[in-house]
């Protein structure tokens, strides 16, 4: 390929180049990229053209040459359009992914804030009911009993502590009920916060799903083309043609039976 042709090919392809950073790719979930050099592309094009011409052993006349060039240009245009279309799809998908990511981040923040609010509300109710945590109360009672009875009667001290703790815990629970009755607003606030958190969690899960789908869509590659443009079927010159034809018919009939039943 001449330098001018190579530059022309480069010009055609340059329209699709897009600059991005490694960090951006990583944040979009892309771990690996495929790289192909311009020289390799040029060599591939050149090889393909040479091989086709050689394999067909065409004695090209000027008119035929022009015809082939025109056809090749048409094909290149078609491919170019296709690539452009796919590039647009990818760009749109990446934009959607960025939007989804932002939404997920916002929901995560909101969820975190709601969690903190809930924790504070629960702490307030506990403090209102008892003034101290159950652990503090248990430790306090144990200390008092062992001070009163001394180290000598350890077993008795432990039994008494256990009974006292059970009694006081029951008492505190009853008091907590009273607080709930006296201050229904506190209970309502907790229930409301819990409901809000559940809703936020579900929305977050949905948004994360959406993001993951969008990201996987962003990595969609155009795929690898089949070598066939149309449906093939058995070649009449194939060995055992009749036998194979019969076998194809049997396979088809069996599948038709299953699938007609399935529909």
């Amino acid at each position: 390929m001449s330098g001018a042709d190579r530059r022309s090919l480069w010009g055609e392809l340059a329209a699709f180049f897009r600059t991005t950073s490694v960090d951006k790719l990583k944040s979009a979930g892309v771990g690996k990229v495929r790289v192909i050099g311009m020289d390799q592309i040029a060599r591939l094009v050149e090889d393909a053209v040479d091989r086709v011409i050689e394999s067909r052993r065409i004695e090209l006349e000027e008119r035929e040459r022009e015809f082939i060039v025109a056809e090749a240009r048409e094909e290149l245009d078609r491919l170019t359009r296709e690539v452009r279309e796919l590039t647009h799809v990818r760009e749109r998908t990446m934009q959607e992914a960025a939007l989804s990511q932002r939404r997920v981040d916002e929901l995560r923040l909101e969820l975190q804030r709601a969690g903190q609010e809930l924790e504070m509300a629960q702490r307030d109710v506990r403090a209102g009911a008892m003034g101290a945590s159950p652990e503090d109360l248990n430790q306090g009672l144990q200390r008092l009993v062992s001070e009163a009875l001394g180290e000598a009667d350890r077993a008795k001290s432990e039994r008494l502590s256990a009974r006292l703790i059970a009694f006081v815990s029951g008492y505190v629970e009853r008091q907590r009920e009273v607080v709930r009755e006296v201050d229904p607003a506190a209970g309502e606030q907790i229930a409301q916060l819990e409901r809000r958190m559940a809703k936020l969690k579900s929305r977050l899960a949905q948004a994360e799903d959406e993001l993951s789908r969008t990201l996987s869509g962003a990595q969609v590659e155009p795929g690898i083309a089949s070598i066939y443009r149309g449906v093939q079927g058995l070649d009449q010159s194939s060995g055992q043609f009749k036998k194979k034809q019969g076998l194809m018919d049997v396979i088809f009939q069996a599948n038709l039976k299953i699938q007609k039943g399935a529909e």
Partner: protein, 364 residues
Amino acid sequence: MGSNQGPAGSGEANVEKSKEHGVLYIGVDLGTSRTSISASNGVRATVASLVGYPKDHVARKLLKRDVLFGEEALEKRLSLKMFRPLERGVIKGSEKGEFTSPEAKENLEAARALIRHAVSLAQPRPDELIYGVIGAPAQASIHNQKAIIEAAREVMDAVMLCSQPFSVAYGMDWLEDVLVIDIGAGTTDLCRMHGTMPEEGDQITLPTAGDYIDEQLERHLAEACPGAAFSRPMVKRMKEKYSFVGDAADRIEMELPVDGKPTTFDITEAMRKACRSIVPPMVESIHSLVRSFDPEFQDRLRNRVLLAGGGSQIQGLDRALEQDMRTRLGGGRVIRTEEPMYGGANGALKIAHDMPKEFWEQLS
């Protein structure tokens, strides 16, 4: 036809699906242990038939996916609910032919995901028609066949099933007087070909296959390696690396942990015994299929035994079978397929290619 999904299953929604750019044929070998595909765009791929779903929200966030497949799923199995959806040739839990139990439903969903994944490995273009043939277990029930077809139709324009051993034989153009032995993980399928579609009497399915060898190897290792700790995946890996029957070229030495300390064991005999365990039932079945064949062609049949499937990679298996066949049948010749992993998929691809246009159109 359902949506014609691209490699990642989505994203092509915005691309106009004109389906005018070509026809992609795909051959699929849906096996208990491995699923392989061959496609008319030159792609060939194989994946362990394993499906894993994140156990919880945390795992899903960490793995960044809703489902993982094959070796990757196995590697991350601690965070996943794992499924090996096929067992002994059918979808697990559906042995009675129904998908009513929760186990069957879950495995059915996993099998569907696996088929979708297998097709995506072929990297189809969104604008091409996809016609596929799936080599399904010879003994799959009608319910199983329907389930496989329904799953495949989500990602293919038309799909057909055929029996796995048949597709192996078709791929090699051996359509007459040939006995195919397809050694999979769950079952060993023997199928006699005589120029027409094999019938029930032409097929024998044995449970002595790859999984059976794993069980045997585990048992023999427990005796040969006292105190050693090993798991089923470790046993499977050992088998895949060292399996043999007959004379061992070298001793097989493995390092296994004993009370947390790596210890070297000689596992040659354990491996030989475990692999050898599938030979007698196979020879017995070959005998049964040969003796009930047309007497005029019995000699030809026993000299055309084709060994396929992952299990055919056991070193020395062809010779061991020939040796036992000499005693039981007075002789015979066993030939291995060149590509045990892709024999079924290549055959299915060839069937897809040879299927007439009007047949595909009727199933589209």
